[in-house]
Amino acid sequence: MSKKTNKILDNLSQIFEKKNLKPEDKISSLEQFDSIIILQIINMCNMIYKKKIDGLQVSKCKKIIDIINLIEKK
């Protein structure tokens, strides 16, 4: 994994409050996932990576890697 991918993964671990979050983790298996998490992801993307993503894009993600790709490809 690249440095940037690792950094995004760290950010997502803090948001999901889950240590050892892995890219292949299924979002549906994370009990915390809700609209507040989506807001936090949009916020993180905007504040740290200066990128705009919308809630619908995040809610369509199935795995953590999908969120990472969403942020990296923007």
Binding site: Q32, D34, I36, L39, I42, M47, G55, L56, V58
Partner: protein
């Protein structure tokens, strides 16, 4: 495009909240709610009892300010009431307030249906009318009892809203000083991002038993069509992508800005917008009131002003910015240094 309204001065601002208070810590019944409370930054909220309507909060606030600034009811030329929770679908609540305040029959009264951007949209409307119709004294009444629209099984909305009413007194000085700058933005394609789907026999979804049926969504929030429904991520994206652009535009046209009072939606939106502005203009202060009042819809800006500056003065140019339902944004720059700001009273 930025517009100017001349000659209108804000004489005073008063606010009234219900005595009853809800503590969000009492809702920490699961991990999700605990995390939500931390993220939105709201600890307690004033909440109306069943018998208190928006006009009751506004009426008490109006009587308070008229007494404090020594204005007679017979001097009021215009009263505008802004709310998304009026007392009735019809008639307009402004007429009820006119009667209860014993304003003269020639007072121009008007209701505006708006929430989060209601205070700034309302100020633009009343100041423009006062300038153009040469009206001397006016009252802008704003308020909402949004907690009545929230389903208590809606996990997030049930932590977010507070109830409040506020009255702002304006006077037409008829001069070229007291300039109010304003700008505004609307995007009706987001109409259903903050919506109460069914409200009466005449609306889009005629009220019936089926509209009252409670449904659980994918996030286990329960609500019916008579409850308020928020699309948090869409509102959030709208706010952080558009509000800073509009704010920067008006800041560039203004000197000596000390304070910016934002609509108090939630802590994440506040922090994001203030960080984007302070990146370029790091000396602007963003007072807040979220922690103890929550999101009081149209009243958040006056609640923030009165809770931070009650019996004090606000020097320099001040920016006010409302955003939300519609979707809509409006922003104003004005001088509040001569404005009497009163401590919040309770009903």
């Amino acid at each position: 495009m930025i517009k100017a309204i001349n000659g209108i001065q804000v004489e005073g601002i008063s606010c009234c909240i219900p005595k009853k208070k809800l503590l969000n810590k009492d809702f920490k019944d699961n991990k999700k709610r605990l995390r939500a409370i931390k993220a939105i930054g709201i600890e307690s909220r004033p909440v109306s009892s069943d018998e208190i309507c928006t006009s009751d909060l506004v009426l008490k606030s109006a009587k308070h300010i008229l007494k404090k600034i020594n204005w007679k009811a017979s001097e009021i030329d215009i009263l505008i009431f802004v709310s998304q929770t009026p007392d009735y679908l019809t008639p307009a609540t402004s007429g009820i307030l006119q009667d209860k305040l014993k304003l003269k029959k020639t007072t121009f009264v008007l209701d505006i249906n708006l929430g989060c951007s209601g205070y700034t949209h309302g100020l633009i409307t009343i100041a423009s009318l006062m300038q153009n119709l040469k009206l001397k004294k006016g009252l802008l009444a704003v308020g909402d009892v949004t907690t009545k629209l929230v389903n208590n099984k809606d996990n997030i909305s049930n932590l977010l809203f507070g109830d409040a009413g506020s009255v702002t007194a304006l006077v037409n000085k008829g001069n070229k000083e007291n300039k109010i700058l304003c700008d505004y933005y609307s995007d009706g394609s987001g109409f259903d991002d903050i919506i109460v789907n069914s409200h009466s026999l005449s609306g889009r979804n005629r009220i019936s038993k089926s509209q009252l049926k409670e449904i659980k969504d994918e996030n286990k929030n329960v609500r019916s069509n008579i409850n308020i429904k928020l699309n948090g991520p869409n509102i959030f994206s709208f706010a952080i992508n558009n509000v800073p652009v509009i704010l920067k535009k008006i800041i560039r046209k203004t000197k000596n800005v000390k304070y910016c009072f934002l609509h108090q939606a939630n802590k994440m939106i506040q922090n994001n917008i203030s960080a984007q502005i302070n990146h370029n203009y790091n000396d602007i202060i963003f007072p807040t009131s979220l922690k103890n009042f929550g999101n009081t819809s149209s009243a958040t800006i006056p609640i923030t002003i009165c809770s931070n500056f009650g019996d004090k003065k606000i020097l320099g140019n001040t920016i006010l910015c409302g955003f939300g339902v519609g979707l809509s944004i409006s922003t104003i720059v004005l001088d509040l240094s001569k404005t009497k700001i009163f401590r919040i009273i309770k009903l």
